[in-house]
Amino acid sequence: MNYFSTVISLLRERKEFLEEIHQGISLKTKIASLLISSSCFFAIYGAIIGAFHSPLQIISSAIKLPALYLITLLICLPTLYIFNTVFGSKQSIGQHFTFLLAAVSVIAILLCGFAPVTLFFLITVTDYHFFLLLNVSIFALTGIIGVSFLYQIMKPNADERSQTSSVSLEKDFIVQVQPATNSNSAQNVKVRTNILRFWLVLYGFVGSQLGWTLRPFFGSPEQQFELFRAREGSFFTAVFNTLINLLF
């Protein structure tokens, strides 16, 4: 069994893949495959950015980068699931987790797509601030694409119906029960759309803070290897200072 083939089928047959998640088909296989493949892709990109500093930084970043994305996902998952369930979602926590993993896997594979570019600049550029800002841009771009992908696949629509299916070995048929849509359902859909938007902002904030806590990912060339830097400031002030350093 090839764990990476699940990611390939996510990219090539996206509609069928997402429909299978919606129907709860082979969720465990998808979760296992997406977890493993996204960890590998993040680890590869983490190793590349860590290579700017030292071999120890390679190992450190190869573990920290998957940890950043996956732990952020795990921290924010209960919020999304509970709020969605309160406002009418019939999807299980497994389905929520699989959707989120699918989006994170898209980010991971996009980062891997940028890996040759990053490797090229790693070899040809010695300016730490340039390399840092290049990667911040890459992370921002892949993050925006991944988040908008997640928004598209998880956004509830007005036609959403609840399904109850039971399979009997004797008769081997599926029963679907579809309750009629009403104004309450439409209201819930609107609320859940706003919940999703709020959650995406929350995801960004939690991810940024976790990223700031886990730093360094690149390793400043003037400093020796540090597993974690002193906890001070914030992610946004650091990016601003780096931009100023580069321009002036």
């Binding site: 069994m1 764990y3 088909i25 082979s26 465990k28 296989t29 979760i31 296992a32 977890l35 493993i36 960890s39 590998c40 680890a43 573990i63 998957p66 940890a67 996956l70 732990i71 795990l74 399979v167 070995l169 004797e170 020796q224 290897f225 540090e226 597993l227 974690f228 830097r229 002193a230 906890r231 001070e232």
Partner: protein, 241 residues
Amino acid sequence: MQLDLDKLRISAKEVERLTGFEVNEVFIGTILGGVYRPSLFQNSKRFTHFCITEMFMLLVTFIFALPFGFLFIRNSTNAITDFATIFKFLLIPLVITVILNISWNVYMLLKVKSTLTLAHLLDEVDKYNEIIQAVDVRDRLEAVGNLQVNALDRERVCDVLKIARNSLVYGLMTERILRENKSLLARRYDLLTNIENNLVTLRTLEINSQANEYTELLNQALQIGASVYKEIESSQRRVSH
């Protein structure tokens, strides 16, 4: 693949529907709560896949255990540079990773006994699908003119494969019912009778005594039917004791 062969194949989705488990060549029920298939130790490719999966599980578990390392260093806001502090930070995640992975492997070791019958049936399903693949290869060779095939032999093989398929499907259904111990106990006797009838039919089929490419395939299909029957019989005996 020709349509009649494609319909005879037992796909992964069908296996999932019949057994209630997501099955692949290494695990029954995936790595999340599932158990490994004992036959993987007899196949070097599957064993390598299993070993790689174990390594991935170590990595993923370690990643999720990392936040626990902050428990030891939460009061410290300084940079972590010395190896003593790094070791302190990594200790808890490493211990959690080792404990979780050992527990996972012990859990699988304990659970593998209860799924032995299913594992054997799934091995028979794999052998059955390999026979389908072999027939498909012969069809393709015939299509390009590399092989002269007797149409009657192919038809006979397909008939035998249909019977073997029914045996496998009934076997998987019976195993699931026995495993889940539902109240449909009367059903299992009907299913077992079906398997027995199929096996008798397989044995009374006249197999062409002349050596040809299909004799071996017919024998393999016959062996599958016999294995399924033996497996269900022994499973039934275990349940009644």
